[in-house]
């Protein structure tokens, strides 16, 4: 363990540590961040009103839109979002901005050191050691991504190879020549790297890679993706969760409980109903609200990440008392649809379908019969007729377990769905159209 003092604390002591840190960061944010001062004042909340962790909901939520507005336009630097002077900033990063303006991230020396501590928990959990040689497959740009993982691996005294600015073939050469034991990268890229090895006549079983650290995109916790990665590399897969705005908050241990530990000494998590924001119980699909307890350059207080998780109340065999989320990130609150009273995330279907080898592509069709919403999975497969019956039954059962919903299954021949280079929309919602037809 990175820090057995904290990772083995009992729940009541952990809460005391969290409260101590919470009071400090709230006082700091109110004193130094115009963004939070305004937020607290507008809500009529003072720092002294927060006497226990249960008082936290008195503070209004923060989200990306409010943050971007406070950040201001290009040329205004960080706007009102920082609590340090710009002179103190020693690292600049930003989010990709694929869904709008990028969020600008400021770090002083202290906060970058803290960011590495967060990674320290994760890298210790996968038992990274000074015997290891880690190749970081990352372009090392303004995205904070693997910068922290790389520096933290050095902190662990592991020998680190920065794999930026090199083509895949060259990375394979480094893996071969330097007997790399750990790969860090996006899961989809690590699969591509394995495929490229095969294409170049390199057998991954002849390589020395034994651990894969996945991050920067979902996949490391998706069972089908994990299985493909494990098979492709003959290596153990560890997922790592985080968000540029809040920090690297989740890590998987070598006991692999089926989820990812929350670094609870640094992150105070609230699990709330995706729509009503009422607190949820363990095991329920929940929206994640994060307070980063040690992030001082740009404090993050009650940040609505919009990620969906299920927190477990089961202990992990590794002995850590930090809680863990089952199956990592389960989807986005933005993508949720209510069907027959059940909240449904399309990510769940993706997880299931990708674990069925004979299915090459699929669409989910949402329609309405009378007052009832109906879900149909149209699965593209070479199996047809009676040959396809077992597949239909298995898909139906697996989808029921994953989504708690009943699906109709239709098998379609290969080539039914067009192949698109850009993001494919696999959910087809016919309900509004049907309503309009009825009314028209």
């Amino acid at each position: 363990m990175w820090n057995p003092i904290l990772e083995k604390l009992g729940p009541s002591e952990l809460k005391k540590v969290q409260l101590l840190k919470l009071k400090r960061i709230l006082a700091w944010a109110y004193g130094r961040s115009p963004f939070y001062r305004k937020k607290f004042d507008q809500a009529g909340v003072s720092v002294d009103d927060i006497r226990s962790l249960d008082d936290l909901p008195k503070i209004p939520l923060t989200d990306k839109d409010a943050w971007l507005a406070a950040q201001g336009d290009c040329g205004q630097g960080f706007g009102t979002t920082t609590a340090i002077s710009e002179r103190e900033t020693v690292r600049y990063h930003q989010t990709s901005g694929t869904t709008g303006k990028p969020i600008r991230l400021a770090f002083n020396h202290r906060d970058w050191n803290w960011w590495l501590q967060c990674w320290g928990y994760g890298l210790a959990a996968l038992e990274l050691s000074r015997e290891d040689r880690a190749l970081v497959c990352f372009p090392f740009n303004l995205f904070v991504g693997w910068w922290g993982g790389q520096d933290a691996a050095r902190l662990m005294r592991c020998c680190v190879y920065s794999g930026g600015g090199m083509p895949t073939e060259q990375r394979l050469q480094v893996i071969l020549e330097h007997r790399i034991s750990v790969l860090m990268g996006a899961p989809s890229y690590l699969l591509r790297l394995a495929a490229s090895a095969q294409k170049n006549g390199i057998r991954t079983s002849d390589l020395t890679v034994r651990k894969l650290v996945c991050g920067a995109e979902p996949g490391g916790s998706i069972p089908a993706m994990r299985a493909r990665l494990e098979q492709a590399w003959g290596a153990e897969v560890f997922d790592h969760l985080g968000a540029s705005e809040v920090g690297p908050w989740g890590y998987e241990c070598s006991a692999h409980p089926g989820g990812v530990h929350i670094c609870e000494s640094f992150f105070l998590m609230e699990f709330v109903h995706p729509e009503t924001f009422e607190p949820t119980r363990p095991g329920e699909l929940s929206r994640l609200v994060v307070t980063s307890l040690e992030k001082y350059s740009q404090p993050v207080i009650r940040w609505d990440l919009k990620d969906l998780v299920r927190v477990s109340d089961q202990p992990c065999p590794c002995g850590r008392s930090f809680r863990w989320v089952q199956g990592g990130i389960l989807g986005r609150a933005d993508d949720l649809i209510k069907i027959r009273g059940v909240l449904f995330s399309p990510r769940g279907v993706e997880d299931v379908v990708r674990s069925f080898g004979p299915v090459s592509d699929y669409r989910v069709v949402l329609s309405r019969r009378g007052e009832m919403d109906e879900l149909t999975l149209r699965a593209e497969t070479a199996l047809c007729g009676t040959e396809g019956e077992p597949l239909k039954n298995d898909l139906k059962a697996a989808l029921k377990v994953k989504t708690h919903l009943r699906f109709g299954i239709e098998l379609c021949p290969p080539g039914t769905f067009p192949r698109q280079e850009i993001k494919t929309r696999r959910l087809i919602d016919l309900r509004e159209k049907e309503n309009a037809d009825e009314q028209g």
Partner: protein, 84 residues
């Protein structure tokens, strides 16, 4: 590690921090000393949050007096705040 050994570790870290602060204050004419001591202090802050905070809670102090300053109240941040 026994409880007494842990408390001793916490005490040594606090002592080290005080010494490093004194050394840092005395180092301003020598960038090689000042910059490196500045980084030493940033690392010591990590030891405070990782070791001293939980130890103060375990010692029943409720963490209110973990022997550390409010974070980030180091020279640069204070000067910047005062100047603005």
């Amino acid at each position: 590690m026994s409880k007494a050994e842990l408390q001793e570790l916490g005490r040594l870290i606090r002592q080290l921090k005080q010494l490093a602060e004194q050394a840092h204050q005395a180092s301003h004419a020598v960038p090689a000393a000042e910059r490196n001591l500045y980084m030493v202090l940033r690392h010591l802050e990590m030891l405070e949050i990782e070791i001293c905070d939980p130890l103060s809670v375990l010692a029943g102090e409720g963490g209110e007096d973990s022997g550390r300053d409010a974070p980030c109240t180091h020279r640069e941040s204070n000067n910047a705040a005062n100047a603005e």
